[in-house]
Symmetry: C4
Subunit: 218 residues, 4 copies
């Protein structure tokens, strides 16, 4: 694939991850809408997947990129730049979100408390597994090509998992969001290993489970 | 169908029912998100149906399995293993959910009160009828093959029915969820017969109603 | 069309309107979920439209039936029985809902207050116009045949209109729901003329607007 | 294109923008449903896009019209009348909404406070960018023709952006809604330049970003 075509993918990954991180930092820090925050993040993710899947595959998450690599849906020479673009998008969104939140916007920061490392690891593993398992099934299976539900399905599972696991680990499920989450004070820097381990192992487990329930030629 | 292919279906049923039960136990026991709990369960169900329909038909519910058997969409030799896989998934989710909830996570258990057995039976019958009637219409009718709304439609009716009937019977509509619900203290063991009767009769009634409104060759 | 085929349609209309009315009476009378009630009704409507459109066209509303007649999408000999089936479904749901609500279920009846007849009439007109205008565009236009959004689109507009107009007229938009709403004490019997006029004129206006924005051969 | 055909488009733009503005003014001014207001607006937008895309492209927003012009999806001789129709629809909705809100309907006006012009400008830019970027990707890309998610995707991103940015700039993202918003006292007349600049520059930036991630022949 020509370099120009690949660059388009990285830009699309950056834009999508930007909006995902931007929704996350804003929705989580505005006390009035706390009850809707996971839904808001899911709506944003669904919309951005619909907008970008035909360009880059709409990963927006290094853990999804790892799973797509294992699934054979990503060229090896792109596997490094995808996370770079995702991290850049998340970084930019954290900066803009931080600026807007400090600029006089009524906020009520809800610092996520990680009460227990084992619980957090399990929570991040389970949520990432759900995200990646749904993603692989709705975007990489031939019998579903041309479907119109791929964004909705991923948005639904991510919103639901943030609702039920947000209070345990922060409900990150994504190393790029983890970075922005730490930068904006929503997560502790010391938790980065929990996020990395939970997310990458969860994604690898989901990719393995996907292979287990599909024939190899699919 | 080869044994290997059938095993894939059972695994997919187990994973889907796991997430359905996991959402149920977590969302129902976190006081902060009580108002969103039925929606969270519906979002999870929609996502998992989208992820699994092409593999196993996405039953996640012995009552749906009964209706699919009556509809002629399930081989008899699979009809026993489907509920086994569903119960196993629900069991695992109840164990993980119970562990996370006990591990220091702020909870506010909302024990469902069954004020009246007749009301509970009617509630479980009505909710299961709605789930199964929609499911049969959106996943087993030829004119709708290839549609992209099958997961959304079932998720919508299940969320709505849990909202309006949750306070009466617990809004279970599913023997596998009933098991997990009893294990995690959300329902009383003595209610298992109400769930079994309401769910299986509701599913059979929906399958009958489905036949009534369709030609037999469909 | 053979009589047997027509009977299937009436049953499907009855089942769909039953669930629409059942969600309405339950969701409106359970104080805990008042903020979600319009969304619950919209979710139910979306699901039932997905389940029934291929059978009966999924009207569930005499005002929609009127508009479909004007649009030429309903045989004249069916136009009488559709409302009969819809009213029967609504009646049954009002009875079951009333029974469940009285049977010890904690309720907090939110009687709709009609402060002003002109406002109520405008509200019912606007809401019905929205419902019917969307319905005609997503289910009767050739270029959209086979689309998967028809149920979602109607569910969205109906939920939104009930949210914003519910406090004015009750947000009925449907003579069959008006009947059940009066039976269960949610609306005053004296308002039936406002509902009938607002709904039928709103539907006729929407059918006219539809013709205005489409070529006649469509 | 014949004049008659063009007139149909303007009417469809007027009806769609009417409902978008009507939802906005009503949902924002009813205190009871404040937490749902952005979702209500998003549901309305999704439904109206599904109802109108095949007629007019479903812009409902002069900023979207600008982006569609840049994208080459709108004839130049229509580019003037689209905003006229949108403004007329918004005006009518502001009048009806104002009448209903004053006619005894319990209201709790939530005047948007613009604390900071730079923040408001950034907020309007970001929200409009999201709306237009998603819109261009889901309605003007060949590989997605015939998809059923175009309305949902736009409704999702707009709801999410109003949730997270509503408290900063009012979450308008649309000069036609800005007009109605000022007329009904939800925004200050002095902010019109912030809206115009934020919305039109945001739309132009999104159209540019769209070109950047697509090949020119698409």
């Amino acid at each position: 694939m020509p370099r120009d075509k690949r660059m388009k993918k990285y830009i699309a990954e950056g834009i999508g991850t930007f909006f995902l991180m931007f929704s996350t930092v804003m929705a989580t820090n505005i006390g009035d809408i706390a009850i809707m925050a996971p839904l808001i993040i899911g709506l944003t993710l669904a919309a951005m997947i619909y907008a970008s899947e035909h360009i880059s595959g709409a990963h927006f998450n290094p853990a999804v990129t790892l799973a797509m690599l294992m699934r054979g849906k990503l060229a090896r020479n792109e596997a490094f730049y995808y996370p770079v673009a995702q991290l850049a998008g998340a970084l930019l969104a954290a900066i803009l979100g931080g600026f807007l939140l400090r600029a006089g916007y009524a906020t009520d920061t809800q610092m996520h408390v990680h009460k227990n490392s084992i619980s957090s690891l399990l929570a991040e593993f389970t949520g990432t597994f759900g995200w990646v398992y749904v993603m692989l099934n709705v975007t990489t299976v031939k019998s579903g090509s041309g479907n119109s539900h791929f964004g909705l399905a991923v948005g639904c599972v991510v919103a639901a998992m943030i609702y039920v696991l947000g209070g345990i680990s922060g409900g990150v499920f994504n190393p790029a969001i983890a970075l922005g989450s730490i930068m904006t004070g929503m997560s502790n820097p010391g938790d980065i290993l929990i996020f990395l381990a939970g997310n990458l192992i969860g994604a690898a487990a989901a990719a393995t489970a996907f292979q287990l329930v599909h024939d190899h030629e699919e």
